[in-house]
């Protein structure tokens, strides 16, 4: 049983297909990452699933309701946290949540209770009665997320929730997202930050040009990109050696990054034969950045 289903979504703006046969299947209760560069169609996909826009082709359902024919029921089952922190900056955090709560149909007293609860959960209780414009970026984002959770929705859409935040704000938002998922809400998280998807999501869909180009767990995606990487740090120039070893040189950092295809032992032997003693040698998994690059390059070559 999938909480989010999109099949063959197409959405055209002029000559550009923002969605070009987009498919998505997300089971209940997970954080699912939608990863792609700017303009890949992530926001269009979220808007289509959140009933904000009509698609030209394809079908989609959220929490078992069709986005086209049962939009009102979908809206009752979702929270949308868009790219801008869509909170009222003049009102306090508490006033914002009470307003949104009442719009979701809660009575005034119920909305006030719910607002207080959410402010507590998101660490905003102390700032509850200050205007939202005095909040830090991270606080504003958390208020934004809280506003999407008033009815404890089945699905929360988070469209690039950490764009423009400093590392601290980013961490605060990550903690909040895990908190949300821990309470059983399915989260669809779009991001351009690969480590963000890696950190939060149990499965990732990679999108480019409105289409899915890869899908899987972060581990699976990384494996698709091939073996582990070794980074060697040397004193002195690295370019020539990098060419001989089949790696990528970085003269500024004095490092060579090599994809390990035939085992680490062979590499160490080669270095030994050349009489080279590295300052540092690290073995690591490929980053999602490298994974993304490899996947999109393969896609472009096709």
């Amino acid at each position: 049983m999938h909480t989010l289903i999109a099949e063959g979504l197409r959405k055209r703006y002029g000559d550009l297909f923002a969605l070009d046969g987009f498919d998505l299947h997300v089971p209940a209760g997970v954080i699912h990452g939608l990863l792609g560069p700017n303009g890949a169609g992530k926001t269009t996909a979220v808007k289509a699933l959140a009933t904000l826009i009509d698609v030209d082709e394809g079908t989609a359902s959220v929490a078992g309701f069709d986005v086209r024919t049962q939009a009102a029921r979908v809206r009752r089952s979702i929270g949308l946290v868009g790219q801008n922190a869509a909170v009222d900056e003049i009102l306090s955090g508490h006033q914002n949540l009470v307003m949104f709560g009442r719009l979701y149909g809660l009575a005034k007293s119920g909305a006030q209770t719910r607002a207080a609860e959410l402010l507590e959960v998101f660490g905003l209780a102390e700032a509850a009665h200050r205007p939202a414009k005095t909040y830090s970026g991270g606080m504003r984002r958390r208020l934004d997320i809280a506003a999407g959770l008033i009815l404890t929705p089945a699905v929360l859409f988070l469209d690039e929730p950490t764009t423009g935040l400093d590392p601290r704000g980013r961490n605060e938002v990550w903690t909040s997202v895990r908190e949300v998922a821990g309470r059983g809400t399915t989260v669809l998280l779009t991001t351009q930050y690969l480590d963000e998807a890696d950190q939060l999501a149990s499965a990732i869909t990679v999108v480019d040009h409105g289409r899915v180009i890869a899908e899987g767990t972060p581990e699976q995606l990384k494996r698709r990109v091939g073996g582990d990487r070794v980074t060697i740090t040397l004193r002195g120039p690295v370019t020539d050696l990098a060419a001989r070893l089949g790696g990528v040189a970085d003269e500024d950092d004095h490092t060579i990054t090599i994809e390990v295809t035939s085992g680490l032992a062979a590499l160490v032997r080669t270095l030994d034969d050349l009489g080279i003693v590295p300052d540092d040698l690290r073995l690591r998994h490929p980053t999602l950045d490298e994974a993304f690059l490899a996947i999109t390059e393969k896609e472009a070559a096709r």
């Binding site: 808007k47 959140a50 009933t51 904000l52 826009i53 009509d54 009102a72 809206r75 009752r76 979702i78 929270g79 949308l80 868009g82 790219q83 801008n84 922190a85 869509a86 909170v87 009222d88 003049i90 009102l91 006033q95 307003m99 949104f100 009442r102 719009l103 979701y104 149909g105 205007p131 506003a147």
Partner: protein
């Protein structure tokens, strides 16, 4: 019921803004008073009203009509700001009727404009303006002024939704001045060159200003022409026409957010 309730909640948001940041609306009200004083005393001495009568008595209903028209600027700016900040999208993702957002705007702006009218009436009374008709006529004058504001609201909602960039709202801010002054709000059409006077007489603002003058018992500055004798009907009809055009256009602009 849910649409009205949601509209009211969105209206209350604006009322809460005024409590939190009263200086914006207070300066808005002071601006109306300032304009009133500038025209009443600075320019007023040089203006004679055709057909006779005191300029302050002529000016006040015109200023009221002008301030109702200037309201279009507030509506367009706030509508565009909410759309730009994603607040409109948040409302659209909620289980509320699709007219709620516009209704919330209507409630907030009508309240704001009613306050502005009240301030102009009190300010006018303070500088010697008088209502010389009966209370029922005066009440009808106020209703006609608010009726003009209501039609302007829909122009503002349409502009704010259809042109979400800052350019359109800036254009509205600039355009209200020539359109506002090319009317009988400040001076009588009969003092203008013939063709300009004809244009000014057909300005919807002129219909409301003249109707309000008649109903408050103030000099109209008219000796003949289309407005004389038909002003009240025109002040009912013009906003009706504008609303009939811009309510559907606004609804369409709201639907087109789905494109």
């Amino acid at each position: 019921m849910t649409t009205l309730r949601a509209g009211w909640i969105i209206t209350q948001r604006e009322l809460a803004h005024w409590v939190r940041e009263p200086w914006g609306p207070i300066f808005g009200l002071l601006f109306s008073i300032m304009l009133l004083l500038v025209f009443g005393f600075l320019f007023g001495g040089a203006i004679t009203v055709p057909g006779g009568g005191d300029y302050i008595a002529f000016l006040l209903p015109g200023m009221m009509a002008l301030s109702m028209m200037f309201g279009v600027e507030t509506t367009a700016t706030k509508m565009a700001a909410d759309a730009g900040k994603g607040i409109t999208d948040r409302f659209r993702s909620m289980p509320i009727g699709s007219a709620s957002v516009a209704l919330g705007r209507v409630g907030a702006d009508m309240t704001n404009s009613a306050a502005e009218l009240l301030v102009l009436i009190l300010g006018g009374l303070a500088i010697g303006w008088r209502i010389t008709s009966d209370p029922a006529s005066a009440a009808l004058a106020v209703l006609l002024l608010l009726w003009l504001r209501f039609s302007m609201l829909w122009i503002g909602i349409f502009v704010g939704l259809a042109f979400r960039g800052g350019g359109a709202t800036s254009a509205v801010q600039v355009l209200v001045w020539p359109i506002g002054f090319l009317s009988t709000a400040i001076v009588s059409a009969e003092t203008m060159p013939g063709w300009l006077g004809a244009v000014a007489a057909w300005n919807p603002l002129s219909a409301t200003a003249t109707a309000a003058r008649e109903l408050f018992g103030n000099p109209t500055g008219l000796t003949d022409g289309v407005l004389a004798g038909h002003a009240v009907w025109l002040a009912l009809a013009w906003p009706l026409v504008l609303a009939a055009v811009f309510v559907p256009l606004s609804a369409r602009a709201y639907r087109r957010l789905r494109d």
